[in-house]
Amino acid sequence: MTLLLLAVGFGQSWNVMLAIFNLCLISAIMSMGLNMQWGYAGLFNAGVMASTAVGGLAAVLISYSPVGKAWDAGGTELGIAFAALVVTIVLGLLVWKRMRPGRARSLSLTAVVLVGYVFIRFFYEGASSSIEAVETAKTGFLGGLGLPVLFSWAAGGLAAAGLAWLVGRIALGLRSDYFAIATLGISEIMISVLKNEDWLTRGVKNVTGLARPVPYEVDLQQTEWFVSLVKWFHGSNLAESGAGSDALREVILLSSGVFVKLCYSALFLAVLLMILTLAMLALNSPWGRMLRAIRDNEVAAAALGKDVTNRHRQVFIIGSAVIGIAGAMLTTLDGQFTPGSYIPLRFTFLIWVMVVIGGSGNNLGSVIGAFITWFLWIEAEPAAFWLVGLVTSMLAETSPLRQHLLEVAPHMRMVLMGLILVLVLRFSPRGVLPEQAPERN
């Protein structure tokens, strides 16, 4: 794997290589989160995308500076709407808990929900339209807290955990297939909320220009120590080419990109190692053994007094939190939040491919699976172009077949991923690094 990445470094460029490497790291964290749910506990979570997106939302809400005008315009009304929502939920729960089951309870519950809905809707409509009217082209949303973006990684984890708690309440009692469908459905609902609630996320208008935890390329190029570092690093090459200022400038431009990406890599690597260590410790702890026991035989584990549903909920929340952290990191890396870009193929099922390839139940396996899968996902495109070029080299530049093939080459990666998933599942269902058999003393 390292060799492959190095090959990209020499073959394409170091910038491309580091971009792939960074996303590999993030994907590795995501697949570790999913591995906890699927590999440790056997939960088929098809809503990975929701955790990722909530993590990304957290990055926006933490790091974006607050939009004062929007708060003035619709803050109070939004507050009232929110309070109405809370009151409705509390009243609804009270009715549900306190009254005896029967027609009276259903009727009063319906009444509470309906009245609450009208109230919320009334205030919420006004709030959202007045917030969205504030400088629509630039802001038109509430903004965030204006805190350093690194905080958002933790916040992303927490937010995803909160969502997972809610999803778990709804879906965890269901059997495997139903659980998969329910989580897939909930994640789609989540995405459509993010796409359409412009006051919160600007919707499909996207939030761009998020603050960075690392320096900007442009600033670096002006900085004294960076320039001298580059000079020192490339000293011999520059001397040969005559130390012209043009050559120097070009090298500085390139290396500033590399440097920024390296900073990201260091941050991501730190998080990855931390989570990896914790995950491995957890897997080898009594808790991890209990989860595996539940996964392998729920009935037997329940008979031994293990609380199956609660353990499932626990691991579902923890796994989602890890994915949420990765989601916040992804948004930080991109510097923008684009709700429209969250599609299940890329953010749910691709992570599944990573976990299955790497070896369900093995943390290191998930990391390796993520690296392999992401590498293939990215490099399949140039490889397909190259292949098409090779195959059609006999044809004329303008031949329609060649044109068509070049056009469709990018979709090759979907086929490749599916093929790999099916083949691995068939011929090596335990993945690249199989789950280690528990030590017996």
């Binding site: 056997g42 088929f44 409509e125 709804i170 879906a171 269901l174 059997r175 495997s176 297939d177 139903y178 998969a180 469908i181 329910a182 897939l184 459905g185 909930i186 789609e188 609902i189 459509s192 909320v193 796409k195 359409n196 599609i343 299940p344 193929l345 099922f349 599944w352 491919v353 299955v356 056009e407 469709v408 979709h411 090759m412 990666r413 979907m414 086929v415 490749l416 991923m417 599916g418 093929l419 998933l421 099916v422 599942l425 068939r426 269902p429």
Partner: protein, 340 residues
């Protein structure tokens, strides 16, 4: 008199924007959901590549339609796609049988857990998604020809003298008629023929069916063949009614799952009911009732707002909400299906 006109106007308005679209969309969903529920009933797993199967079948239909059109061979008043449909169904059947042979049979013989089947179907989903995009491209394609409207809004206004128009698209009528025919044929097959009875027996109790000499390979093959035919029909009707776009077909998977689960998994009748429930709630929840109420209520009581339960953008979310609600309140579905 004036009140009667208002009432008629309101009714026409409602059927134009809610009833007729929901009826044809519901029929399309129902056809898809029956396929999903059959696979659930016989093979006992949630088939995640059903949407891609629909896309594949529709793609074949489009290619054959273009081929026919290039030969100057059209259906005149009807869409040419109807002529292409049988051939496309055959190709999709072959595809379904090929995936069954190459992917699913192995796990079936090893009696793997349903989850393994689901993951394998995700793999097939990826592959088919890529193949469809490679062959026909990811863009939106309109392949309808022939007469578009049976009744045009303007002509309807002139004919009845009402201020609301009613437009009836040919594809809407075709959808409902073909869906009814397909479903009748399916039920005749399941209830009257030997193979159909074998399928029902197999779905009800696998071991007992095997004991009484039913050939499981045959049952599974027939199930895939029927599913492929229904999926292609559903996909083509949806594409004729709206348009063909690979991504949209992938997203259709969820309303279809919702329909199958709402109706009760493994229950074909339930799947049909579920399809209409999902379609009607999607359309009703996102329709703005302002104009409708304006006709019905006295003028001083006319509402100010749009009277829309949810924004139009939440169309897809509605089906998932129903899905989640049903899973919570009655996980067996309306017709007490199997709990997997």
């Amino acid at each position: 008199m004036e009140y009667t006109t208002d009432l008629l106007n309101a009714l026409v308005l409602l059927s134009n924007y809610v009833l007729i679209p929901a009826l044809s969309y519901g029929s399309q969903l129902a056809l898809g959901a029956v396929g999903v529920t059959l696979i659930f009933g016989i093979l006992r797993f949630a088939n995640f590549y059903h949407g891609e199967m629909m896309a594949f079948g529709t793609m074949c239909t489009i290619f054959i339609t273009w081929w026919f059109q290039s030969m100057g061979f059209t259906a005149g008043f009807f869409p040419t796609a109807l002529l292409a449909l049988p051939l496309a169904i055959l190709i999709t059947m072959l595809l379904a049988l090929a995936t069954e042979r190459s992917v699913f049979r192995f796990y079936r013989q090893r009696k793997s857990r349903p989850v393994i089947f689901v993951i394998a179907s995700v793999g097939v989903m990826f592959m088919l998604n890529g193949i469809v995009r490679m062959l026909i491209g990811p863009d939106e394609i309109l392949f309808r020809d022939g007469q578009k409207f049976l009744i045009k809004a303007g002509a309807f206004k002139k004919m009845t003298g009402l201020s609301e128009g009613l437009a009836l698209k040919q594809t809407q009528v075709l959808t409902v008629i073909l869906a009814v025919l397909a479903v009748l044929l399916l039920f005749w097959f399941l209830q009257r023929t030997r193979t159909g009875k074998a399928m029902r027996a197999f779905s009800d109790n696998e071991d007992l069916a095997l004991l009484s000499g039913i050939n499981p390979e045959r049952v599974v093959m027939v199930t895939w063949v029927i599913t492929a035919a229904l999926a292609t029909l559903a996909g083509v009707l949806y594409g004729l009614d709206k348009s063909f776009k690979p991504m949209v077909y992938f997203h259709l998977l969820l309303p279809i799952f919702a329909a199958a689960i709402v109706g009760g998994i493994g229950q074909p009748v339930g799947a049909i009911i579920g399809g209409y429930i999902v379609a009607f709630s999607e359309v009703t929840a996102t329709y703005a009732f302002k104009k409708f109420l304006k006709y019905l209520l006295p003028s001083d009581m006319a509402p100010d707002g749009l009277i829309q339960f949810l924004g139009t953008d939440y169309k897809f979310a509605v089906s998932f909400l129903i899905l989640v609600l049903v899973l919570l309140v009655r996980p067996t579905g309306i017709l007490r299906g199997r709990v997997l």
